[in-house]
Symmetry: C2
Subunit: 207 residues, 2 copies
Amino acid sequence: MIEDLPLQTFLDRLASGSSTPGGGSAAGVMGAMGAALVGMVCNFTVGREKYAAVDAQMREVLAAAESARARLTEAIAADVAVFDHVMAAYGLPKSSDDEKAARSAAIQEALKQATEVPLACARACVEVIRLSADAARHGNTNVVSDAGVAVMAAYAGLKSAALNVYVNVGSIEDTTFTQPRMSEIDALVAEGEASVARIFDTVRARL
Amino acid sequence: MIEDLPLQTFLDRLASGSSTPGGGSAAGVMGAMGAALVGMVCNFTVGREKYAAVDAQMREVLAAAESARARLTEAIAADVAVFDHVMAAYGLPKSSDDEKAARSAAIQEALKQATEVPLACARACVEVIRLSADAARHGNTNVVSDAGVAVMAAYAGLKSAALNVYVNVGSIEDTTFTQPRMSEIDALVAEGEASVARIFDTVRARL
């Protein structure tokens, strides 16, 4: 799996003239790094006398961050898989009208899957942004800058995933599929935009 | 080296209750992913007849992105090294006045190095943001969303590196060291803030 590649190899493949891995996988990595850094702040906070008042809350944040990290790590490879699926559909034969219709249907179906992956990535990134707010407010001050890095990473992951939703939705004809998903991604991006500067400022004030 | 770790292992270590790798290394990864994605857009653009008019320019962007990526990849491990150096200085003996003075001087010196690494990371991230503007404007439209992911990744890397500059500068007494570096990081962040939305919008308009 792609998450087993050495970081340097992942970066080399990202830069190469091959379509995958691309920005969708990078979005998953950014979200997963954000979740990991929320986890790090929690791991420096739970079980410490000085932070006993927020211990129970930070344990919940840690569990939620680890769950989000697992989903975001899955998105790294899933983005490659759905892209390959779309390319395979475009490669189907189109000699007869029947073949053309079957190819068209396969492309539309593959594009829907290729929309769901970045949408799920965006949802998980927004969850990491929410969790980073708790880490920024209540986390161990020795590592609070890591909560600031977490929110920036998750925000970048969110905006990047949104781009991949826009790209795929642009080629999908079924508006009963596209409309609710465009509404959802717009709401997710709006929540991220409204939160990121406030959380970053909370971190800066506690440095 | 840390960049040879599998991506999954890097994420696990980021999340752990160990100080390194932390947000400074994550900033390097984000910047390097941004540079890699600018490179990817260039690699889909150079040598193609449709983009012949921007071929020479995009070859320059590609070379600059690869150079920035090398510097940002170095920052991933360098951030760990300078943190360890600071911790080692704090661990020096402090029984006598002489020891206290030597320890204090070693801490100040280590903090200066720990400021230079994220500052260099921030500089390279701003360079990636500038390069992503060219990729967004002139890159192959099939992969232009990757230029949008690049600018978000580099911007997140910049803001994250800035946090690490603020943290270290806060403990450095020598204002002839801190003042020019705070001026520089403020200017770098201001340039990033002024560019990111415009470049993202350029990408969206070309999707």
